[in-house]
Symmetry: C2
Subunit: 463 residues, 2 copies
């Protein structure tokens, strides 16, 4: 008989205690994009290292040029796996849209029999990473050992472009290289159906600042004569898409492949429509490239998105000013073999070509990672598929993901290691938005799923 | 002999005291666009009323729905004039660009023999309005009377679109109607050459907010599928000008007249080039309609300007969000017979036509006033021209102005009263920008100019 059954019982019995631990972690304001919260990031790292030590890991907090990493190791006889998660969270503004304090996590019954965990990071990624930690804790408590040799890497800069990650992986490659990686930062197909992610879009972030006059100007004196940086920036951004929603930057689609017809067909079979995808967020009209299904748009097509813009007077009332500068945060989601640095360079050329001779432009890079495409039929994927199907009572589906998880590309390139992407988030978790939540069922059955996956991996996939 | 000579002597002798009074007024943070400063606006009004009472005016602070007005009257035998100025000032952000505290006014020697008064409102409009008050004070001190019957109206909402002004003028029309108005909110041609303004552009302000999804979205999940309000707004703004710098809103140029060739010629004779106008602010290329002289662009052509834009994440670092909304502050400078409300409606139609079916847009109006065109050869203008020429030792020039002064249109429409626009500001005064200043020579000779103008008006223009 499987040795996982008592572990699952133990996870059921200790759910309340596991929630208390998660709440303690969620209460730490580890916002990585804002330097003001650096001490909170460190606190989250230290909390995690201490928790891992309490269940027998050799765990410590490692310095980087930015926020620290947590590295932990535990001996075991099965294959060597490296589990990855991130303890940093997104900013919480606009704060006034939160129903509850984002850093006072709570359990809420949202409908009879359905509870959710509320708070920033509940789903992305603290709740997810703790599903794995809890699975290890229970296995250890029941059997006094782990079924595999387990290493853990927790990062604190995932939400700010992971600037320290590559140097860290390069420096500690020998220590961190395992047979494969387990990454818990993705989602389920729906509340009942588990999923394994085999495709991930890449990401390039850029901040562009257009400067015109050397000071703010009165629009009465200078309007109609002096260059207006908001007008220049609006022109640049508007020029970036054509009437069919395609990105117009020269070379942007280099390396983009058409998705095979059988894959498109399997996605169509999932039954998503523009209405079912956009309805829950108050929209109905697909805004991307025309003539493509909504799942193809978010899973297998590249995009240019505008994530922020600011210039001139934005306070109460009105100020008839021509501002000295205006800036925008622009990001690109990449697929297949698009090259992040070529895209960055092409974008900068595209912008520079639209700046008047007496104005200037500057750029700040914010991360860059290529897309990832895993094989649909690797043994590792098949093993996890079976374990997930057993736990959830529904066949696990192989999907792609719109968001990037740069670590997966880095594991591949720097450590020669494939990643198994299993997660329990849901599209309505409001990650990166006010009122983030994580289903209690995701947290609980997520723990059980990892226990099953670890056991199955130890058996080499045999039931 | 003229009775103005001893008044001029008195103004010379009391310059230091007049500066102390101006500094006291400049220290009051009367920013009208920000509700947080409402008590400071009231304090400025009360300070002015008290000062006017101290020189024999019947002066009081009058309530409005917004910031209060100051109304004052003084008997006199000559014509009845109504002097207008505004005690409110522009916001001071970005505060870090100020060399000195904007509300700690000071006198600075910027080159040998040239001093300037620094602080927010020094030029726009507290310094200017005090030139008139000081002229009255000196005349009264020397002669025990004023040469004209003088009424005064000081407004506190000029920088926020003057919402209370029209109702106030309508309600107090009988009390405020004079033979003509004197308005001191304009500039000189250059530091040595006085000017009278005979043309003023009008202004329409609009705030437009585009809303897409009902929450901020993760650009990984929804990028390429969900509408992005920054992209929609950028498209709208970019569409508003064609390749020749003309505004593309249908009907925008209705009521715009070509400036007569002899006027254009007189402006050309002033010798301004794109370089001489734009060089001081770090620019060189005219950004408005092609094929027109720079003075025509700012004095006699309408514009669409973008004064502020904000949407999405604008803090430190990066956030891969598709924001729920984005907004812009847009203003139009109007000339000749352009109708502000028709322009506003045409703009809104233009925007609405570019909003996708599942998104929405809302508008907030921020003031609206038509342009003003005075006659080049009215007796009032000729009288002031002679007085200014005498004071400054150079012929006063008749110019137009790019900025709007809505009061002038309101005086014409509501009180049937023409306005004489004389002011002593300079293009490099940095009004509406950090480090605003007013030349000490403007303040001093401005006082003397008003003393001469009042005396000349009392004599019916005879020397």
């Amino acid at each position: 008989m499987s040795d996982v059954a008592p572990v699952l019982d133990r996870l059921d019995a200790s759910l309340d205690e596991s929630l208390e631990r998660l709440f303690a972690l969620l209460a730490i304001r580890s916002i990585s994009t804002d330097p003001a919260f650096a001490p909170e990031c460190r606190r989250a790292a230290e909390w995690l290292a201490a928790d891992l030590r309490s269940i027998g890991f050799a765990a410590d907090v490692r310095e980087t040029a930015g926020h620290p990493m947590v590295v932990a190791h535990h001996e075991g006889e099965g294959p060597h796996v490296l589990f990855y998660g991130h303890y940093d969270v997104q900013p919480v503004d606009p704060l006034e849209l939160w129903e509850d304090d984002p850093f006072a996590p709570a359990l809420k019954e949202v409908e009879p029999g359905r509870k959710v965990i509320t708070g920033r990071g509940a789903s992305d990624d603290k709740g997810q990473l703790m599903t794995f930690v809890e699975a290890c804790r229970a296995y250890k408590a029941v059997h006094g050992r782990l079924p595999c040799r387990v290493s853990i890497l927790f990062e604190g800069e995932e939400e700010s472009g992971s600037p320290s990650l590559r140097p860290f992986l390069e420096k500690h490659a020998g220590e961190l290289k395992a047979d494969f990686a387990l990454v818990c930062d993705t989602g389920m197909w729906d509340r009942e159906t588990p999923a394994i992610c085999v495709g991930l879009r890449g990401l390039v972030g850029e901040e562009v600042t257009v400067r015109a006059a050397d000071r703010d100007l009165h629009s009465g004196f200078f309007g109609g004569l002096a260059a207006n940086p908001i007008r220049i920036l609006a022109r640049v951004l508007a020029d970036m898409h054509d009437g069919n929603g395609r990105v117009t930057i020269p070379g942007f689609y280099d390396g983009v492949e058409e998705t095979p017809p059988d894959i498109l067909k399997s996605w169509e079979a999932l039954g998503r429509t523009p209405e079912s995808l956009l309805g829950p967020i108050g929209l109905s009209v697909p805004a991307g490239e025309t003539g493509r299904s909504p799942l193809e748009l978010i899973w297998a097509r590249p995009t240019a998105e505008f994530n922020g813009i600011v210039g001139g007077y934005t306070g109460e009332g009105f100020k008839t000013v021509i501002p000295a500068q205006a800036s925008a945060k622009v990001s690109f989601r990449l697929v297949h073999r698009q090259d992040p640095e070529k895209i960055r360079a092409a974008f900068r050329d595209f912008v520079r070509a639209r700046i008047p001779a007496d104005c200037s432009v500057s750029f700040a890079p914010h991360g860059g990672s290529p897309a990832i495409q895993l094989s649909y039929d690797s043994p590792m994927v098949k093993t996890a598929e079976a374990a997930l199907t057993q736990e959830w009572g529904r066949p696990a589906v192989s999907i792609a993901m719109g968001g990037s998880i740069p670590i997966v590309g880095d594991f591949q390139r720097l450590l020669g290691m494939e990643s198994l992407l299993v997660g329990f988030g849901l599209p309505d978790d409001r990650i990166h938005s006010p009122n983030e939540k994580y289903e209690l069922s995701s947290f609980h059955k997520g723990q059980r799923s990892w226990a099953r996956i670890l056991a199955a991996l130890a058996r080499g996939g045999r039931q």
